[in-house]
Each structure stands twice: as structure tokens, then as C-alpha cells.
């Protein structure tokens, strides 16, 4: 069926609707009883990228901003090199991109992190591993590969999902396995990295969690509401671990 309104008018209406929705949220019209009548998400299509910045990306990028000094030298990233370029800038000397399948043109290393014979050892100054581990069933093996691939003194920056809906695409591809708690993430890495070189931090609160489940975006919430941290609501997890220098490596 052909749309009745011209595209410019439709765009205007869409923008208008989005801004009305945002005001509704800000005023608490939806955040009240309305939210408790919806059995479908406000935005079922994505994680909020259609409306603005995804809520988990807000936390991921905050973490990477805090640790941008670590993104330097020979850097490994997954799927594409966006974060390595953005947070590494001139500090990077070389960037490799790892992907599990060969269909990604940006990939320079095709490997499954869990049985990664073709991932080189003692190679990377920094590994940026965002939203990867929850898609790997053999996650313990993946953590060992991360350790092995780092140079002594190298840093891995990890983020992963806490409270998050499933990705329909990943679901069809049978890819999503885990939602870790911060404690699980810590223990997984402390089995391989020295405990004193592992830092874990969780981000989020009840409002951020529910907004994210509904597919709302950063622009739908106030910054102070995103920044408030409630330890019981781990929306996004982050971890920084360093491979020790010298022979103490396990």
C-alpha cells in the first residue's frame, strides 16, 4: 500500500511522535502505570539505536573513555575497529579485527575465541572485547585465549551484558548463552589473570534496566538517572585485566 502522506510529512510526524514520547517519559506519564500494562516493548525493534544512543553503549563508552590510555600499540578488537580507532587514536600502531566467520570484510583474524589456534600468543598491547563473551558457550576457554594473546603487561578491556533482552538475530543464529553477574565475570578472569590485576565494575539501576528492556535510548532518560548506580541492577558489566610481566603468568 502506498503511504498517504508525503515522506517529508511522515518524517515530521515521526519526529514529532518521538519527541512527544520523550516528553511523556520525562513527565512520568509512561513511567507510571502505563509501563505496567504493556506486554510488548515500547520499541521492540532494537536496543534503542533507532531512537538515539543505546543505553548499554552509554556505559560501554564511559568505561572505554575512562581507560582510553590503555588503548595503545597493537590493538585487537572484535567485528570492527570502531572503538580501537576512537579510543586509541594516534596511540595505536596496528589494529587487528577478529571475527568468528570469514564473511566480515574487516576481519584480519578469523577465529573462534574458544578454540583459537590461529590467534597469535603474546601479541597485543590491548584487547577491546566488548559484548563478545556472552555469545561464547565455552567462555572459560575464551578467557584463556584472551590471556594468551596479550603481551606481558598488556591490558584487556571487557564489557558484557547484565540485564538485557535477547537479540532476535542472535537468537535465530543460536548465539546468546550468558548473562554474567559481576561476580561471575570476576571469577572467570581470576582463574587466569592474577586477582590483583582484575578490576570489575557494574553500571545501571532499575530505571536504566527497564528503559533498556523497552528499547528506549539514552536521549529518553536524564543523565543523572543513567549515572546512578544500584548494585542490584547490573545493566552493563565492565572488566579490566592486565597480563603480568615476567614468568608469574599462569
Amino acid at each position: 500500500m502506498k503511504p498517504v502522506a508525503p515522506s517529508s510529512a511522515r518524517r515530521w510526524m515521526k519526529d514529532r511522535r518521538l519527541s512527544l514520547e520523550r516528553w511523556g517519559l520525562r513527565l512520568g506519564i509512561w513511567a507510571g502505570p502505563g509501563l505496567l500494562r504493556r506486554i510488548t516493548p515500547i520499541n521492540p525493534n532494537d536496543y534503542g539505536e533507532g531512537r538515539g544512543q543505546c543505553i548499554d553503549r552509554y556505559y560501554i563508552e564511559r568505561f572505554l573513555t575512562e581507560h582510553a590510555n590503555d588503548v595503545k600499540g597493537h590493538v585487537l578488537e572484535f567485528a570492527d575497529d570502531t572503538y580501537a580507532r576512537r579510543f586509541g587514536g594516534d596511540k595505536t600502531s596496528k589494529i587487528d579485527v577478529l571475527h568468528r566467520t570469514a564473511d566480515n570484510p574487516k576481519a584480519t583474524i578469523v577465529a573462534d575465541l574458544a578454540c583459537a589456534k590461529n590467534v597469535p600468543s603474546d601479541t597485543f598491547d590491548c584487547i577491546v572485547c566488548t559484548q563478545v563473551l556472552h555469545c561464547i558457550f565455552e567462555v572459560e576457554a575464551a578467557v584463556r585465549t584472551l590471556f594468551r594473546a596479550l603481551k606481558p603487561g598488556g591490558v584487556v578491556l571487557v564489557t558484557d551484558a547484565g540485564i538485557q533482552k535477547l537479540d532476535s538475530v542472535d537468537l535465530k543464529n543460536r548465539e546468546e548463552y550468558w548473562r554474567f553477574t559481576s561476580l561471575a565475570l570476576r571469577r572467570l578472569f581470576e582463574e587466569v589473570f592474577p586477582a590483583e590485576l582484575v578490576e570489575v565494575k557494574a553500571y545501571g539501576n532499575a530505571l536504566a534496566a527497564v528503559a533498556f528492556l523497552h528499547g528506549l535510548a539514552v536521549q529518553d532518560l536524564k543523565q543523572e538517572h543513567l549515572d546512578y548506580s544500584d548494585a542490584d541492577f547490573e545493566v552493563s558489566l565492565s572488566l579490566r585485566a592486565v597480563k603480568p610481566n615476567g614468568p608469574s603468568a599462569r
Binding site: 506486554i39 510488548t40 533482552k165 535477547l166 548473562r179 527497564v210 528492556l213
Partner: protein, 192 residues
């Protein structure tokens, strides 16, 4: 809120709750869903502080629990608290009688329980896919059934700490595959 999904699952499989039953924490579900079909109930607890506990053990190192013992194991909301998953699943398999049934639930979307986090630790939220793979490593895959329940409303209400009574029942019964609030698994140990 999660109790709605757990109890619906157990009610559907109440026929499996019979003979010698193992429950965790207390024997409430074994009694409620087993009734007269139950001949004996054991209660497993990680620590000795549960008055009903007849077995004090860590499931991952449960060597003291005899093999081939239980006709049914009710393992609700336990696995998320166990760091070493694979040994725990092997223990569950080992202590079931041949032909015995494991009924297990675990949350998908849930906030951290401070009490559990501070006692033994809370580790995992599984997807239904993960649960299936974990158990298929030990049980024959044709004997493993996994079902996820929930939708964004159930998840929201659960995170905000609302009760089942705050939500219309039919709204809870709608399942949205993107929102696995509660995961249920039934697995059978094969007869020899």
C-alpha cells in the same frame, strides 16, 4: 513474580514428583506437587543453617550423596548460585535413579539478590540455549526439554519488585522470545 512461572512449570509436571524426591532449601514444592505420590523427601542445603536440611552439600562437590538415589529432583532457582556448573550438573545426573526426572528452573532476567550474593554468591543468568547445551553435555539430548517464559511486562514488574497480583494473569502468560524471564528444564536420566 518468578514463582508464577516456577509453579506453573511444576504444576504441569506434577506427575514427575513422586517416590524419593530431592528438594533444595526446604521441602515445600516436593510436598505441594508430590503429595501422596512422595515416599521420602530429602532436602539439600549448601550450609547447615536450614532446619529442614537432611543433606548438607555443595552440589559441585557432592561426592557424599549416593548415586542412583532419587526418582525426582526439584532444583528451582539453584543453578544461578553455583559457580562450577558442569560438576553440579554431573552430580544431578549421578544421583538420579535411572528413569528419574530432574525439574529445574533458573531466572533469565532478574536483579541481584543481595542475600544470595553475600552468602554463596550469585553468578549466572542463562539463556534457554545455554541451559539446553549445558544439560545435553550430560543427559541424552532427546530427554532434555527447555522452555523459556516471560515478556517485557513480566521482566519490568519483576525488576521493580511487584507481585503477581499487580499484573493481569493473561499478561503473564504471553511469551515473548526476546524476554526470557524464567527458564524451565526437564531432563530424564535414561533407564539402563
Amino acid at each position: 513474580m518468578d514463582r508464577f512461572f516456577i509453579e506453573r512449570f511444576l504444576a504441569e509436571h506434577a506427575e514427575d514428583v513422586r517416590g524419593h524426591v530431592l528438594d533444595f532449601g526446604d521441602d515445600a514444592y516436593a510436598r505441594r506437587f508430590g503429595r501422596a505420590k512422595v515416599t521420602k523427601v530429602d532436602v539439600l542445603n549448601l550450609t547447615a543453617d536450614s532446619p529442614q536440611a537432611t543433606i548438607v552439600a555443595n552440589l559441585s562437590y557432592g561426592e557424599q550423596i549416593a548415586s542412583d538415589t532419587f526418582d525426582c529432583i526439584l532444583c528451582t532457582q539453584v543453578l544461578l548460585l553455583v559457580y562450577e556448573l558442569r560438576p553440579a550438573i554431573r552430580t544431578l545426573y549421578r544421583i538420579l535413579k535411572p528413569g528419574g526426572v530432574l525439574l529445574l528452573t533458573s531466572p533469565g532476567i532478574q536483579k541481584i539478590s543481595r542475600g544470595d550474593m553475600e552468602v554463596g554468591g550469585e553468578y549466572w543468568r542463562f539463556t534457554s540455549l545455554c541451559m539446553r547445551r549445558l544439560f545435553e553435555e550430560v543427559f541424552p539430548s532427546e530427554s532434555v526439554e527447555v522452555k523459556a517464559s516471560g515478556n517485557v511486562l513480566a521482566a519490568t514488574a519483576f525488576l521493580f519488585g511487584l507481585a503477581v497480583e499487580d499484573i493481569r494473569r493473561k499478561d503473564l502468560e504471553y511469551d515473548d522470545p526476546d524476554f526470557e524471564v524464567s527458564i524451565a528444564l526437564r531432563a530424564v536420566k535414561p533407564c539402563l
